[in-house]
Every structure is written in structure tokens, then in C-alpha cells.
């Protein structure tokens, strides 16, 4: 039986010996790995700030309520109302719907600016992280910019003031041609903050579930142990 199992495992892995060459990262071979950290409150707050400043004029977060954001990110009421919501007619319980509607977006930019609430779950955190860093100047595009991760993207390089401008070199890699207001390290940190925030928006309960899961599992370990003892006692009857 052991030999059988060994053969089984060998055969199974035959399938893995021939990986295909299809890339999940556009023109790049693979996306830079990034796993979001939704437990870092300050990072999420910085990410929120970046989102509101650079993304919210086009992209909405239609499944996230303001009051949920307030509770999870610990935002004082006055900052929420005066600096974030801005419009006094919007209630705290409303959804974060701002940005462009589809018609305007398509007319002005060529494509709709999608809602971003679930974007990190659709594309993956690594993808979004790499995408944000991979814009480059492209005179052939209507808005003058393109992206290595999403070729032909209609999105302009909104983060150019922070990152600086980039161009494509002969070998297909990206090089920076001018400085932004942030250093490379700071920009990288900012993009991680932004992705952390988007990962939070995609699943606000994630931080809680990752924290509480250990207790549920621990309980079932105890459950198993107690039931094991019960079973062992009774199985003595039928030895």
C-alpha cells in the first residue's frame, strides 16, 4: 500500500512538471509579490488618505459604508464629516459612492473607471501593487501613459507627482526619468499602504476573522481531545 501511495504521489506531480508560460501580470513575467497587512491601523489610514486624494475623483467604493470605515479605521466624527465626506447631505450610513459615472468616464477617458471595493479580490494584492508602480510615458496613448501590468490601460498616471515619471527602456524594463515628491522607498511604502487599504475595503471583516480564528480552532482542538478520551474509554469494552 505504501508503494501504491508513493506511485500515486509521483504520478500526481507529473502534472506539475510541465508549467505553461502564460503570465498573470500583463507584459511582466510575474507580479511583484505583496501580501496585504490589514492589521496595521496607521497604514490603513494613510491608504485611505491616498485613496481620497488620488483615486476618489474617478473610482468609487460602492459597497463600503462611511460609518463602517469610521468604526474600523478609528476616524473622529469631525474629520469624517469635514475632511472626507465633505457633502453635508450625505449620511454616515451611506455608501462611498463618488467618482465618475460610467458615461462620463467612458467619454473622457475611453473606459469606465471601475468601482474598486473588490478589486484586490478580483486581481490579487500583488497585481494591484505592481500595477500602481508600473505606469510609464507612452506618447501613442490618448492620455500619454500606459501600464506594463495592464497594457492599454485608460487610466492616467495619477501618482506621477509622487513617484516621478517613468519610461520604457529598450529591453522592456521601466526606468525613472524624473523625481517625484517621494523617494523610491517612500513611494513603495505608500503603495503598500494603499493596497492595504484596498484589501481592507474588499473585506472589512478580515482583520477580525484572522484575529478570532485561533480561538475557534483552539476550541475544536479541546473538543477533539475530550471526545478522544470518551471514545477511548468506551472502546475498551470492545477490545
Amino acid at each position: 500500500m505504501i508503494r501504491g501511495l508513493a506511485l500515486l504521489l509521483l504520478f500526481t506531480f507529473c502534472g506539475k512538471l510541465f508549467p505553461a508560460g502564460e503570465s498573470e501580470c500583463g507584459a511582466l513575467e510575474s507580479c511583484a509579490e505583496y501580501k496585504a497587512d490589514v492589521h496595521d491601523l496607521f497604514s490603513l489610514q494613510r491608504g485611505l488618505g491616498l485613496f481620497m486624494n488620488y483615486c476618489s475623483s474617478c473610482h468609487s467604493l460602492q459597497y463600503l459604508r462611511w460609518n463602517r470605515l469610521q468604526k474600523d479605521l478609528d476616524i473622529p466624527e469631525n474629520i469624517l464629516k469635514e475632511d472626507l465626506i465633505l457633502n453635508p447631505d450625505i449620511k454616515n450610513s451611506d455608501y462611498m459612492t463618488f467618482g465618475l459615472n460610467n458615461d462620463d468616464s467612458t467619454a473622457w477617458l475611453g473606459a469606465s473607471a471601475p468601482d474598486l471595493t473588490l478589486r484586490t479580490r478580483v486581481r490579487g494584492e500583488s497585481w494591484v501593487y505592481t500595477y500602481l508602480k508600473s505606469f510609464y510615458e507612452d506618447a501613442s496613448r490618448p492620455l500619454g501613459s500606459n501600464n506594463l501590468v495592464l497594457q492599454g490601460s485608460s487610466m492616467p498616471h495619477v501618482l506621477a507627482s509622487l513617484q516621478g515619471n517613468q519610461q520604457l527602456s529598450m529591453d522592456g524594463s521601466i526606468v525613472k526619468v524624473s523625481e517625484g515628491s517621494l523617494t523610491d522607498e517612500q513611494f513603495d511604502r505608500s503603495m503598500k499602504d494603499l493596497v492595504n487599504f484596498l484589501a481592507y475595503a474588499a473585506e472589512p471583516i478580515r482583520s477580525d476573522r484572522e484575529k478570532n480564528g485561533i480561538f475557534v480552532i483552539l476550541f475544536f482542538v479541546i473538543f477533539t481531545a475530550v471526545m478522544w478520551l470518551l471514545n477511548r474509554e468506551y472502546s475498551k469494552d470492545i477490545k
Partner: protein, 414 residues
């Protein structure tokens, strides 16, 4: 105190077969003493069935079964409903767990000849349950109305459309519309929530009644009924309750440890339990890059895709032939009791051909599963075709090699 209980039970028993059935199916029902961990999956399947029904009912309280509202209602459940996220993850993880347990449960059946006479009916009811589970999973997957829900449903529905002559009309009839739409969603909802679960409950009852009529098997393939003690209890057997009920409890505990580890730490299952494209609402103008079924359909999807040729002179397209072979890969399981002509029940005592056949069958099933989750290329298609052959051959040739191979002597006692 016990006097009062006795007279209450007497009253009840005169009107309803309570004690009679408790004894027949639990406290006096003999089962083999010594089995291995492969025998736990039936009990776990019942547990996961209950989990799915209860979480499913709760999800139903908050889900909107219309095209316009479905996707948003899932996010409503995830964000606005207290513990809605937990119910959703338990249900999605439960679906994958259901199939995982089902495949191992059936593998046990193949290994230890659980389908052999007189348990053919148990096996048939079981195969029907597999078919219903596959239907249930497909119907349920459409409900969130994400990109994969929509496009994978399109693929499967177009298989029906590939049936000659009646296909296109049949597809429209199933859809309730010229294209897959809200009309399809609503009827899939009714089927998923009421029809298939009721059928499954009925079949589980039949499955267990049929099993209890003839008695459970064991890894040795020994007939425990042959040697009994003075009281009529098989020497190698023990009453189901409390010995098997109590031995199931720690296994259920271990199962929940793994189950909740996934629910709380990796509910997406690396993109295999909750597929990434499904976090985007269905868009009939935009096809996803790869349309892949959930992992548990992958082996069968692989077989479907591997059939890249048709039978032109019979007017059978490759798509339709693929559908036929895909259906055959499930249908052939139904007839295994009649393919196996072996004198012995368990793989432990069967000959070398059965052992090789089992390894090839299992390995090809797993490899097909892996391939089914990946996009096609020439090499993968070739491997899938070979594996499809290695899936069918051990079954098709079974009547021959099981009859003539040299088997070992089965012991009398466990």
C-alpha cells in the same frame, strides 16, 4: 422516575416505531469493530450536509435571487448582516469540503469493494447522490452572479446546446430566455434551495436503509455475520451506538479544526474555493481570460476538454462527443458493481492487476483534476487524453482482470 419514562416510551411505541428503530439502527445495529479512517467519511458527509443546509437557509434569508440584486446581496451578507460573512464562508468552504469528503468516501468504496453484492443498491443510491451533489454545486455557484458564475454556466448550458437536433431549443428551455439571464437565476435558485436538497435527503435515507439492511463492510472484506456469539451479535461486530457514534466524535472535531482553519484563515482557498473572477459582477459583454470550473469539477471538465475530435460520419461534433464522454465518466461509476467480477471484496486481497488499475485510476483522476484548473495547451491536452484513457481502462477491463487474476485468501475473522 424511570417508571415514568418507561410508560411514556410505551405510549409512544404503541403509536410510532421509536424504540424499534432506535435499536435496529443504533443501539443494536452491529458494525465491524475494526475499520480504518477511510470509514469516517460517511458520518462526516452527514455533518457537512447539515452545515450546508443550515448555512444555506440562513443565507437565503438575506440573498436576493434576481439578476439586479444578487451580487450586491452577497456583499450585503458579507458586510451588513451580523456574522453574515461567517455564514457565507462556511457555505463556500462547506461546498468544497462536501466534494472532498465525497471523493474520499467513494474511493473507500472502490478500495474495499463496498459496492459488491448485496450492497449494489447502496452504491447506486450513492452514485445518484454524487450526481445530485454535482448538480447542486453547479446551481449554487451561479447564484452569486459573479463573472465566473455567469460564464461557467454559459459553458455548461452550451453543452446542452450541443446535443444534436434538440440542443438549441433545449438550451433556451433550460435558460428560460434566449440567453442566460435573471430568468435562469431564479429557477436555479428554486432548484438549488428546494428540489435538489429534498432529493438528496430522500436518497441519503434510502442509502442508509439499504446499507443497514445488509450491514456495513470492512477493509478486509470479511463477512462478520458468519460468526456470531450466543446473543446473535457478530463476534467481530459491535453495536453502532455507543461505539461508532462515540468514535465519530473526535473525527468530527478534527474535521472542524481543518474546516474552521480554512474559514478563518484562507476562505478563498488560494483562489480554488472562491474564485477570483467571481468577485466581479457578471458582465455579459466581458468574458474572463480563463473560464475554469471550481476544483471539484476539474477532473470531469478535463475529460470534456480532452475530447478534441468528433465522429464526423455520425454527425457528432467534438463538443457533443466531449459531452458524451464526460457524462460517461460519471455514468460508468454506476455500473462498477457489475464490472467487478472478483471473488474477494477488498483491494488488500485482490490481485496485482486490480492494484495497478486502482493506482492508475486514482492518479489519472488527480492529474485530470490538476489539469482542469489550468488553461489548455498542446502538451496538457495530450496528458489529459492519456489520463482519460487511464481513467476508463481500469474500469472497462475490470470484468476481465478481476475474474482471472490471482487473489489472496481472505481470513475468516477480523
Amino acid at each position: 422516575m424511570s417508571e415514568k419514562n418507561n410508560s411514556f416510551m410505551n405510549w409512544l411505541d404503541k403509536r410510532f416505531p421509536v424504540t424499534e428503530n432506535l435499536e435496529r439502527h443504533l443501539t443494536k445495529h452491529p458494525v465491524p469493530k475494526k475499520v480504518n479512517f477511510f470509514y469516517i467519511f460517511g458520518a462526516l458527509l452527514m455533518v457537512i450536509f447539515m452545515v450546508q443546509v443550515i448555512t444555506g437557509i440562513w443565507l437565503m434569508m438575506f440573498y436576493t435571487n434576481t439578476e439586479e440584486g444578487a451580487f450586491a446581496s452577497v456583499e450585503y451578507i458579507m458586510r451588513d448582516v451580523e456574522y453574515g460573512w461567517l455564514m457565507r464562508y462556511m457555505h463556500s468552504t462547506g461546498a468544497s469540503a462536501f466534494f472532498f469528503l465525497m471523493y474520499f468516501h467513494m474511493f473507500r468504496g472502490l478500495l474495499y469493494g463496498s459496492y459488491q453484492k448485496p450492497k449494489e443498491l447502496v452504491w447506486l443510491f450513492g452514485c445518484f447522490l454524487l450526481f445530485l451533489l454535482m448538480a447542486e454545486g453547479f446551481l449554487g455557484y451561479v447564484l452569486p452572479w459573479g463573472q465566473m458564475s455567469y460564464w461557467a454556466a454559459n459553458v455548461i448550458l452550451s453543452l446542452f446546446g450541443a446535443i444534436p437536433v434538440i440542443g438549441p431549443d433545449l438550451q433556451v428551455w433550460i435558460q428560460g430566455d434566449y440567453v442566460l439571464s435573471g430568468a435562469t437565476l431564479s429557477r436555479f435558485f428554486a432548484l438549488h434551495v428546494v428540489v435538489v436538497p429534498l432529493l438528496m435527503i430522500a436518497l441519503v435515507v434510502f442509502h442508509i436503509f439499504a446499507l443497514h439492511e445488509v450491514g456495513a463492510g470492512n477493509p478486509e472484506g470479511v463477512d462478520i455475520e458468519k460468526h456470531r456469539d450466543e446473543k446473535g451479535m457478530p463476534l467481530d461486530g459491535a453495536p453502532f451506538h455507543p461505539y461508532k457514534t462515540f468514535s465519530a466524535l473526535p473525527a468530527i472535531g478534527i474535521f472542524f479544526v481543518i474546516f474552521f482553519a480554512i474559514v478563518f484563515f484562507a476562505p478563498e482557498g488560494g483562489g480554488y474555493f472562491l474564485e477570483k473572477p467571481n468577485f466581479e459582477e457578471a458582465d455579459f459583454l466581458k468574458t474572463p481570460e480563463h473560464i475554469a470550473p471550481v476544483w471539484y469539477y476539474a477532473p470531469f471538465y478535463s475529460i470534456l476538454r480532452a475530447i478534441t475530435f468528433g465522429i464526423p460520419f455520425l454527425g457528432i461534433t467534438s463538443k457533443f462527443l466531449g459531452f458524451i464522454i464526460f457524462a460517461a465518466s460519471i455514468a460508468i461509476l454506476f455500473v462498477v458493481p457489475w464490472l467487478d467480477r472478483s471473488k474477494v471484496q477488498s483491494i488488500r486481497y485482490k490481485g496485482i492487476y486490480s492494484k495497478i488499475g486502482m493506482i492508475l485510476f486514482a492518479a489519472s483522476f488527480i492529474t485530470l483534476g490538476y489539469l482542469g484548473t489550468k488553461p489548455v495547451n498542446e502538451l496538457r491536452t495530450l496528458i489529459a487524453q492519456i489520463c482519460t484513457l487511464l481513467y476508463f481502462l481500469p474500469l472497462i477491463l475490470m470484468p476481465i482482470y478481476t475474474k482471472y487474476e490471482k487473489t489472496l485468501e481472505v481470513p475468516e475473522r477480523l
